[in-house]
Amino acid sequence: MSVKEITAEHIEELEVLAAKYPVRRSALLPMLHYVQSVQGMVSPKGIQTCATVLDLTPAEVAAVATFYTMFKRFPMGKHHIGVCINTLCALLGGDDLWKELTETLGIGHDETTSDSMFTIERIECQAACTVAPVMTVNWEFMDSMDPAKLKELIEKLKTGAPVQSTRGTLITSISDSERLLAGFNDGKVNDSPDADDSMLAGLRVAKERNMTAPIGKGVR
C-alpha cells in the first residue's frame, strides 16, 4: 500500500491545530493523529512535516511518535481492531476473542491483512471492565463481545455493510477516527451515550448504602 503524500492543504490543517494552543508544540499529539488520518501511519515524512510546522527537530518528534503505541510506523488497514488483553477482559473471554481474530484474519499483533482491510492490536485496559470482554473498532467500543459476534462483525466490515458501535456510533474508518482524535469534530459526539446502566450500577448501590471511601492513614 502506498502511503498518501502530505500536501499543502494538509499542512494548512496542521497549522490550524498548532494555532489552537498557547505553546505551539503542545499540538504535537493531535498533529500526529492528523498525520495518521492522512497517511494511515506516521511516516518519516510525516514526522519531518510536524517538526517543520512546530520548529522542532525530527528527532524530537520521533521521540514522541515512537513512545505512544497508538502511533503506527507501518501502514494500517482501513479498520483498526483492538482486543483488550488485560486480566479482567482476558478472563471473561478476551483471550478467546484474540485467538478467533488472529485465526480468522491470519495475522498477529500490529500486523495488517494483505488486502489492507484490517490492522489488529492487543490493547490495554479501556476502562470499560463492566462490559468485558471489550474490543474496539477504530477506537469505538464493542462491548460484551463473544467469538460469534466477532465473526459477524468481521464479515460486515469486509463487505462494507454498515456497522455501529455497541454504543451507537456508526463505524467508518480508522482514518476518520484519527481525524476526530486530532481535534476535528465529526458532529457525532452525541451518537453514543456517556454511560449505560451497567456502568453506573456500582455507584447506585454505594449511594443506597451510604458508602464512602475510607479515609487513608496518610503518608507523611
Binding site: 514526522i47 520521533a62 507523611r220
Partner: protein, 793 residues
C-alpha cells in the same frame, strides 16, 4: 568534573545546616545532596548526573536514605534542606542495598564485552559495578541484543545494548549544544537513543557525548577499537584550531596521537570542546614534511641535510640585502611568531612582516595596535556569561568560535543575555542564541552599528571579517567609546592573537610597541642586544603590499611560514608573487602547493611535537607541553636560530625557555600605541538587478587545510547551499531548488539555492566548503559585488 561555580546555590549566600553520614555541615541553599557528599569526600555512585547538565534522576544509581522519606531517594536531584539527615551507602544498609539493586538491573541487559569495549578501563559502569554491585548476576536468561553499531552520524556510533539510558547525551545535545538531533526513542524495555530517519546527529559538538557517556554505548568512528585507555599517555594541550583556546587532553600511544578529549577548564571551555578540536588531527599524519629540501642547479628539489639547507637559506637571505619579507599564516604559537618578528628585524633588517593571511587592511592594523594588542582589560568568557547585552558584528559564533557560542548560549539560557547580531540573516546558530538580527548588507555594518540603540556596558564582539569592510573597525571603536561598551576582537585562527602580541605586523613590535616610536624601538633593541638603529623606524609592508611589491620586482626573497596559499586574500596574486621573487623559503608542517616553489623548504614541528603558547581571543595565554618527542622535529624558532647563526648572528632563541625569558624581559609597554583608526566607510553604489553583494564566512567544518585526513568528521559537514531572499530570487527568476551561479571576472561558484528570510540584494555562500571555495574560485571577499544567474546542471 566541575563543581559548578554557576550553580544557583553558590550565588546565594544563604546557608543551611544538614547532616550527611552523621557529619553536620553548612552548605549554600540549593546544593544537591550528591554535590554536598562530594565536598565531604563521599562519592555517591552515579551515571546520569553531570554537574553541567540539569538533574534528571534517570539512572537511579545514586539512591540514598533520607530520614523521614518512605523509600530511598536520588541524591542527584534533591537539594539539601534545613535539618535534613541523609545517609549514603557509607552508613546506610538501605542505601547500599538500593544501589546494588539498581546496579543489578542496569547490568541485566548490559553485555559482558568489557574486554573489547573502548570504554573498558575508564568506564564508570565497570568501576561502579565493582564498588556498588553484586559480584555475581542472578540473571540467567538471554540478554537483549541489537544490531550494532547504529550510525548516528558518520562520526558517532551507538551500541544500544551497552546503553543504560542515563540520557546524558540527549540532554547535552538539547541543553548545551542546542542540537536535539538525538532523542530517547521507543518506551519501556525497548527505550533507546536514536535519530530521526535521514536526520543524522550532525552537531558541531557531537563528540562531547562520547566523552560524557558513562558506558561504552557511544563511540567515535575515528577511535573505535583503536586503543585501550591504559595503553595511552595523556598530555594536557591547547587546541590549535581556533582562537577559543580550549584545553585538551591529547592521548597518544607509541608516539601516535590516538584521540583528543576536552580537558575541563572552568574559565575557558568548561567541560566541552567542538568536533573540529576533538577529531581533526589527521593532518598530523597527512603530507608531513620530514626532510629539508633545496633546489639544485637543475631546478629540481632534492633532499638536503639540515646544515646545508640552513646555509643555503642564510646565503639566499643575505643576497637579498634587505629586500625581503616574511609572510606568516596565523597558526603559529606565540613563541614561534615572536621568533619571526625578531628575525625579520634583527636578521633581515625589515619590518615587512604580516601574520594576516586573510583579508586585512591598514585600518585593521591600527585597530589591533590601538585597541587589542597589549590590552589587559579585554573581555573574558566569564564576562560573556554575565553580560546583559552582546552585539555581534561580522561574527558568526557557532561557525567561527564555537566555544564562545556555547558560553553565549549558556548565558542566554540563564535568562540574562540578549544577543543582537548585525548580520544578513538569522542563522541556525544565532537562532540557538535567541538572537535578534538586524538584517544588514555586508558593507553597511558600520552604519547599522552606529544607528542602533546600545545600552551602556554592552559587549561588542567583532570578527576578523570586519577587516574586509572599510570603515567598520573605526566605527566600532567609536561606538564602543560612546556607549562605554567593551569591544573584543575574535580572530578565527589560534595563532593570530599571539602573533599580534609578538609584533608580527609591519607597524608593531612585540607588546603593542609601535615601530615608529623611538623609545619602543630602544626598549626592544636593548632586550635583543642590538643597536637602536638595527630596527627600522618606518613601518614595513603589510601582506597585500608585500605581494604587490614582489610582483613589481621590489623584493628579492620571501620567507613563507605556516601558510596555505588557498587561504590568502588573493591566491592568484600570491602565486604570481612567489614566481616573481628570486628566493623563497617555506617553513611548515605539511607539504602544500607552495612547497614546490621553494628554493629551501624546511620542516617544523606541529603542536603535538613541541611546547608553546597560544593566546586566545581573551588575551589569555594557553601554554602547552610537548606530547611526542621522538620525531625530533624542530620549532620554527629553533630553525630561525639556526639560520641566524649561519648568518653570524647571536639570535639566542634555541629553546622554549629562551623565548619565554625574552618575552618576559620585554614586559609590558606603557608608552604610546598606534593611532586609533579613523577610516571612512564606503557607500554602496547603486547596482543592477542581477548584481548582489557577497556575504560569506567559514563553516566550522569545511575544507580547511587542518581538517584533511578525517573522513568521518568530514561526513558531518553541512552541505553547501547558497542563500537568497525571496525578493532577490524572484528578481533573478530563481526559486528554491534551482542551482544559482555566483560569478565575477575571475570565476564562478554554482550551488543549490535555498530561499530564506534575509536582507535583499545579498547572496550568502560558504567560504571554503565543498563546491564553494570563495578565494580559490572567485578571489573575492565579503562585501564584493557579484553577478548571479541560474546555474546549469
Amino acid at each position: 568534573m566541575t563543581l559548578t561555580s554557576d550553580n544557583k546555590a553558590t550565588n546565594t549566600q544563604e546557608l543551611i545546616t544538614a547532616t550527611i553520614d552523621g557529619i553536620q555541615m553548612q552548605v549554600p541553599k540549593g546544593t544537591l545532596i550528591i554535590r554536598a557528599a562530594e565536598k565531604m569526600g563521599t562519592f555517591v555512585p552515579r551515571f546520569c548526573d553531570h554537574p553541567s547538565l540539569a538533574p534528571v534522576a534517570a539512572c537511579r544509581m545514586c539512591l540514598v536514605e533520607i530520614e523521614g522519606m518512605p523509600k530511598p531517594q536520588p541524591s542527584c536531584a534533591i537539594p539539601l534542606t534545613e535539618g535534613m539527615v541523609v545517609k549514603t551507602q557509607m552508613t546506610s544498609k538501605v542505601a547500599e542495598d538500593a544501589q546494588a539493586g539498581v546496579m543489578e538491573f542496569l547490568l541485566i541487559n548490559h553485555p559482558l564485552d568489557c574486554p573489547v569495549c573502548d570504554k573498558g578501563g575508564e568506564c564508570p559502569l565497570q568501576n561502579q559495578a565493582m564498588t556498588a554491585g553484586r559480584t555475581e548476576s542472578r540473571f540467567e536468561i538471554e540478554k537483549r541484543t541489537f544490531p550494532k553499531p547504529l550510525e548516528l552520524s558518520t562520526e558517532i556510533l551507538l551500541d544500544r545494548e551497552r546503553c543504560v539510558e542515563c540520557a546524558r547525551c540527549t540532554r547535552f545535545s538539547e541543553e548545551i549544544a542546542g542540537d536535539p538531533f538525538i532523542e530517547l526513542l521507543e518506551r519501556g524495555a525497548k527505550q533507546q537513543v536514536g535519530i530521526a530517519t535521514d536526520e543524522p546527529f550532525n552537531s558541531y559538538f557531537s563528540g562531547n557525548t562520547v566523552q560524557i557517556c558513562p558506558v561504552g554505548a557511544l563511540t567515535s568512528s575515528a577511535y573505535r577499537f583503536r586503543s585501550r585507555p591504559f595503553d595511552l599517555v595523556s598530555v594536557k594541550t591547547t587546541c590549535e584550531h581556533c582562537a577559543a583556546g580550549c584545553s585538551l587532553r591529547t592521548d597518544y600511544r607509541r608516539e601516535t596521537v590516538m584521540r583528543r578529549l576536552a580537558w575541563e577548564d572552568p574559565e575557558v571551555n568548561e567541560d566541552w570542546n567542538c568536533d573540529k578540536g576533538r577529531f581533526a588531527f589527521g593532518y598530523l599524519k597527512t603530507n608531513r614534511l620530514t626532510q629539508p629540501k633545496v633546489r639544485n642547479l637543475d631546478g629540481n628539489q632534492i633532499d638536503a641535510l639540515w646544515p646545508d639547507a640552513v646555509d643555503i637559506a642564510a646565503a639566499g637571505l643575505a643576497n637579498a640585502q634587505g629586500k625581503v619579507a616574511v609572510l606568516l599564516g596565523g597558526r603559529l604559537t606565540l613563541e614561534d611568531a615572536y621568533a619571526y618578528s625578531k628575525f625579520a628585524r634583527v636578521a633581515l633588517g625589515t619590518n615587512n612582516i604580516d601574520f594576516r593571511n586573510r583579508d586585512h587592511s591598514e585600518e585593521e592594523q591600527q585597530f589591533l595596535g590601538s585597541a587589542v594588542a597589549g590590552n589587559h582589560n579585554s573581555v573574558t568568557y566569564k564576562e560573556l556569561e554575565n553580560a546583559q547585552n552582546v552585539i555581534l558584528v561580522s561574527f558568526e559564533p557557532e561557525e567561527e568560535s564555537p566555544i564562545i557560542f556555547l558560553r553565549l548560549r549558556k548565558a542566554m539560557q540563564k535568562g540574562n543575555l540578549k544577543v543582537t547580531a548585525i548580520a544578513p540573516y538569522l542563522s541556525k546558530g544565532l537562532e540557538k542564541l535567541n538572537a535578534e538580527v538586524v538584517a544588514t548588507k555586508p558593507g553597511e555594518e558600520g552604519k547599522v552599528l552606529s544607528g542602533i540603540d546600545i545600552v551602556e556596558n554592552s559587549i561588542i564582539l567583532i570578527g576578523e571579517r570586519a577587516a574586509a569592510i572599510p570603515g567598520l573597525l573605526s566605527v566600532a571603536l567609536e561606538v564602543s567609546n560612546k556607549t562605554q561598551s567593551k569591544i573584543s576582537w575574535i580572530p578565527r585562527r589560534a595563532g593570530e592573537r599571539g602573533a599580534l602580541e609578538a609584533g608580527a605586523l609591519p607597524a608593531l613590535l612585540p607588546g603593542a610597541r609601535p615601530v615608529a616610536d623611538a623609545s619602543a624601538r630602544s626598549e626592544v633593541a636593548k632586550v635583543w642586544g642590538v643597536s637602536n638603529s638595527k630596527i627600522p623606524s618606518e613601518p614595513g609592508l603589510d601582506h597585500s603590499q608585500i605581494i604587490k611589491a614582489a610582483i613589481n620586482g621590489e623584493l628579492k626573497a620571501l620567507i613563507i611560514a605556516g601558510l596555505d596559499v588557498l587561504d590568502a586574500p588573493d591566491p592568484k596574486l600570491f602565486s604570481e608573487a612567489i614566481n616573481a621573487v628570486d628566493f623563497v623559503i617555506t617553513i611548515g608542517v605539511q607539504e602544500n602547493s607552495l612547497t614546490r616553489y621553494a628554493n629551501v623548504s624546511l620542516p617544523v614541528a606541529p603542536v603535538t611535537e613541541k611546547s608553546g603558547t597560544f593566546i586566545n581571543w581573551e588575551g589569555r595565554p594557553r601554554p602547552f607541553g610537548k606530547a611526542i618527542g621522538s620525531t625530533n622535529a624542530l620549532t620554527d624558532a629553533r630553525v630561525l636560530s639556526m639560520i641566524a647563526e649561519s648568518m653570524d648572528l647571536d639570535f639566542g632563541l634555541q629553546i622554549i625557555e629562551d623565548l619565554r625569558m625574552e618575552l618576559s624581559e620585554l614586559g609590558i609597554w606603557n608608552g604610546s600605541k598606534l593611532e586609533k583608526p579613523q577610516f571612512e566607510s564606503k557607500e554602496i553604489v547603486d547596482f543592477k538587478n542581477d548584481n548582489v553583494i557577497l556575504s560569506t564566512w567559514h563553516q566550522l567544518l569545511d575544507e580547511g587545510a587542518m581538517q584533511v585526513g578525517e573522513e568521518h568528521l568530514a561526513g558531518t559537514q553541512k552541505s553547501s547551499v547558497a542563500y537568497l531572499s525571496e525578493e532577490t530570487a524572484k528578481q533573478n527568476n530563481l526559486t528554491t531548488g534551482d542551482l544559482v551561479t555566483v560569478l565575477n571576472t575571475r570565476g564562478s561558484i554554482t550551488l543549490p539555492l535555498e530561499i530564506i528570510e534575509m536582507v535583499n540584494k545579498v547572496i550568502w555562500i560558504p567560504f571554503n566548503s565543498k563546491d564553494s571555495k570563495v578565494k580559490q574560485s572567485l578571489g573575492a571577499k565579503e562585501g564584493d559585488i557579484m553577478l548571479i544567474e541560474k546555474g546549469k546542471v
